[in-house]
């Protein structure tokens, strides 16, 4: 459970380096799991992320409002749509001008699907609340760590199962009518994994580097940062 700063092999051009690091952050925010990484490089270029995500989200919403999500195997549908359309987009470089939408859209799709499955199966909402909180916690933690220039280890994203395997597990659970049990086990597992790893890593990092970039505000929005720098509001 060591978090290491990623040192580039060669000191590249600073602008190029900046682009590489920020893109890597964007990809880390997606929180892709084992399935995406297995398919990476085996399915060609992959689909463009934003159109695929928008189509998948529309399909999920359509399934929900038409009341199709009742019971049984049909509950696999939203997850399958999302996984089929989006799983190959992880291979894309995410350099497009709208590709910053990919992580929030992906997380939105994940949360919406969890809520829809839970509503269809009458799973206790507090359990889903904890599940969404811990998945969200992992994302926040990824953001905060990369802002300090340190990265969660690659195995954590695999062990965290990624959005795709988490959703597949929940969908199977819902399809066989055991969503509550499956969600409870998944939530407990993720809760232990993400919180223990996170706390240990931060305590270790705190001891290792008393300074790092401790002064920076981890929660600042991009507009706030610009405003602080120039003393001028530039919000939208």
């Amino acid at each position: 459970m060591i978090t290491q700063p990623r040192v580039p092999a060669i000191a590249a051009d600073p602008e190029e380096e900046q682009r590489r690091v920020q893109t890597e952050r964007l990809l880390a925010y997606r929180d892709d799991g084992p399935l995406v990484s297995v398919l990476k490089g085996r399915v060609g270029r992959g689909l463009p992320p934003i159109p695929s995500l928008l189509v998948a989200l529309l399909a999920i919403v359509a399934l929900a409002v038409t009341g199709t999500l009742s019971d049984g195997p049909i509950l696999l549908a939203p997850v399958l749509v999302l996984v089929v359309l989006v799983v190959t987009t992880g291979s894309r470089d995410h350099l497009g001008r709208f590709d910053w939408l990919a992580p929030p859209l992906l997380r939105a799709a994940e949360f919406v699907t969890i809520i829809l499955l839970g509503l269809a199966e009458d799973t206790p909402k507090w359990l889903l609340f904890v599940l969404i909180y811990i998945v969200g916690y992992h994302t926040y933690d990824t953001v905060y760590r990369t802002r300090q220039g340190i990265w969660p280890p690659a195995w954590l994203f695999m062990a965290g199962l990624g959005w795709e395997v988490r959703l597949l597990i929940l969908a199977v659970g819902a399809a066989v009518g055991q969503l509550t049990v499956v969600a409870a086990i998944l939530t407990a597992y993720l809760l232990v994994l993400f919180s223990v790893e996170s706390v240990l890593s931060w305590v270790r990092l705190d001891k290792a580097s008393a300074q790092a970039r401790a002064e920076q505000d981890l929660e600042q929005s991009p507009e706030e940062a610009a405003e602080e720098l120039t003393g001028r509001a530039d919000r939208n």
């Binding site: 990919a102 507090w126 994302t139 931060w202 790092a212 509001a233 530039d234």
Partner: protein, 525 residues
């Protein structure tokens, strides 16, 4: 650590010589009313020792022995060209950020601290012409000039914009509409030190063109600006700074300085700028005094964070009772949880105690508190029995959680993608060119290009921030943390959890659409 360079030879005055004749080295000016009655130079070294215990002082041969009596290295230089070359030598070998200060500086610690911790890669201390504050762009073309006016005894030959130095003049270089003077201190990030060295050498070769009133930092900033470096501005916000060239000036400056409250400035600087409406007007007005109180009692920022977490959990517990009094108590507790959440950062900045763990604790438990209160409210709704089995309210809580996490991720992702775009390079200009007309024409041309289409719309919206009402409305619409906590407290105390969640969903939804629209437009522009 920082590499500190002190400039031992101040510039001469414009026109008539100093009333007292020759300048007095900073080693010979005493500060009788300061603790220990140090000399100006001795005090400055003392202040800078934590940054660089061995600073380099560039001095005229006649003054050098006096400077040598102190810590640090002394480099002798005959003239302005020598000063610039000596500085280039230091900058070339620099492996850290650089702070350049006149040796005759009388400054508050807080000013030096603020300069060295600024986020700008290059930042200079300036003073604006008080008369140009309300300046309107006058009709007709302004001509570049070599002005003879002074501010605090230094030539007013710099043009500054909102956030950076636009153009610098000297006895040789003319500047359009000068509105500020450079006071001397200049802080540079490591990545600019090589360019500084190169620029200083080029300037040294041009030294015969400059006048006796041209200060070394003025020339350096001129060089940096003309090479396309964005040099940020630092204006005193209640900190004291003056250059004292003789005993009389020092005595006057000490009297003036005794009227300043450095601790208060330090406290004010500890309050984060750019906060939302609720935070600014209902928390930041007094939270700094709690911060000072806590810091003086030796509390660490992390202890304050723990108080805030405890208050947040108590608030969630109070909401979970599902009673009216529980809701009112929860509202008060969540307000104070938020106040202490602001205080922890202020304690860290005021006491200058930063830690990686503290930054993480603060950020992580902000989320935790907020979502714990959601749980409290939903549990309270279930317990109260007013909402059936409470599952409906829980669903609202669930959606509110998803929405808020999604909005945060939207911020984070856009921020990361935004940082990929290299900033548009600033126009450059040869050092030898006399006036800055070309520089300004290029800036004007860019402004015109940007005026059309989506960029024009964005610029219009940015400029609308001049109006206070628009400024605050824009801040409120994005539903920042202060507004969220206030909305929870007020709606929960007055109404019921369902109203609270609906408020969060509607306001949060509007905020999401607003920020998304702006960012989509900016991605297009």
């Amino acid at each position: 650590m920082t590499r500190v360079v002190l400039l031992g030879s101040p510039p001469g005055p414009i026109g008539s010589p100093l009333p007292g004749g020759q300048h007095v080295p900073a080693t010979d000016i005493s500060l009788a009313s300061q603790p220990g009655a140090p000399t100006v130079y001795g005090r400055l070294l003392e202040q800078l020792t934590s940054l660089d215990p061995q600073p380099t002082t560039i001095a005229r041969p006649g003054d050098a022995p006096a400077y040598r009596a102190h810590a640090g290295q002394v480099v002798e230089s005959q003239d302005l060209a020598g000063d610039l070359r000596a500085l280039a030598d230091v900058a070339e070998g620099a492996t850290e950020n650089m702070l350049i200060m006149p040796a005759d500086s009388l400054a508050h610690d807080e000013l030096i601290y603020q300069l060295t911790k600024a986020k700008r890669a290059a930042i200079a201390l300036i003073v604006r012409d008080p008369e140009s504050a309300a300046e309107e762009p006058s009709p007709g073309e302004a001509r570049p000039e070599i002005g003879g006016e002074t501010l605090e005894g230094l030539p007013m030959r710099t043009r500054v914009g909102l956030g950076r130095v636009i153009s610098v003049g000297t006895a040789y270089h003319a500047v359009t509409r000068p509105n500020a003077a450079l006071l001397g201190p200049l802080h540079l990030h490591l990545r600019h030190t090589a360019l500084l060295a190169e620029t200083a050498r080029e300037l040294a070769d041009l030294a015969h063109l400059f006048g006796p009133e041209d200060d070394v930092t003025e020339l350096l900033v001129l060089g940096l600006v003309r090479k396309g470096v964005s040099v940020g501005l630092y204006e005193r916000a209640g900190e004291f700074y003056a250059r004292v060239r003789d005993q009389r000036e020092a005595d006057e400056a000490q009297v003036a300085m005794s009227g300043y409250d450095e601790d208060r400035v330090r406290l004010d600087n500890a309050v984060k700028g750019a906060d939302g409406f609720f935070t600014t007007f209902f928390v930041s007005t007094y939270s700094r005094f709690i911060a000072r109180w806590a810091a003086r009692r030796g509390m660490t920022p992390n202890q304050v964070t723990l108080i805030s977490i405890a208050l947040g959990l108590l608030s969630a517990g109070a909401f979970a009772t599902g009673t009216r009094w529980g809701a009112v108590a929860g509202a008060v507790l969540i307000y104070f949880a938020f106040v202490f959440d602001c205080v922890d950062g202020q304690v860290a900045r005021y006491a200058r105690r930063f830690g990686v763990l503290g930054a993480w604790l603060d950020a992580t438990f902000d989320r935790f508190k907020e979502y714990a209160v959601f749980v409290g409210l939903a549990a309270g709704a279930t317990v109260s029995g007013k909402f059936g089995d409470g599952e409906g309210v829980w669903t609202l809580a669930l959606v509110a959680l998803a929405l808020q996490s999604g909005r945060h991720l939207l911020d984070f992702s856009f921020g990361a993608a935004n940082r990929r775009k290299p900033p548009a390079p600033l126009p450059t200009l040869e050092l030898k060119v006399v006036d800055d007309v070309k520089l300004r024409e290029e800036l004007e041309r860019r402004r015109t290009v940007k005026r059309g289409g989506v960029s024009g719309l964005l610029k219009f919206w940015t400029d609308a921030g001049r109006f206070r009402s628009v400024h605050w409305a824009r801040k409120m619409i994005v539903f920042p943390i202060g507004e969220r906590f206030a909305a929870i407290a007020i709606t929960a105390a007055l109404f019921d959890p369902r109203v609270t969640f609906l408020t969060l969903l509607i306001w949060g939804g509007v905020a999401a659409i607003y920020t998304l629209t702006g960012r989509l437009l900016r991605s297009l522009a």
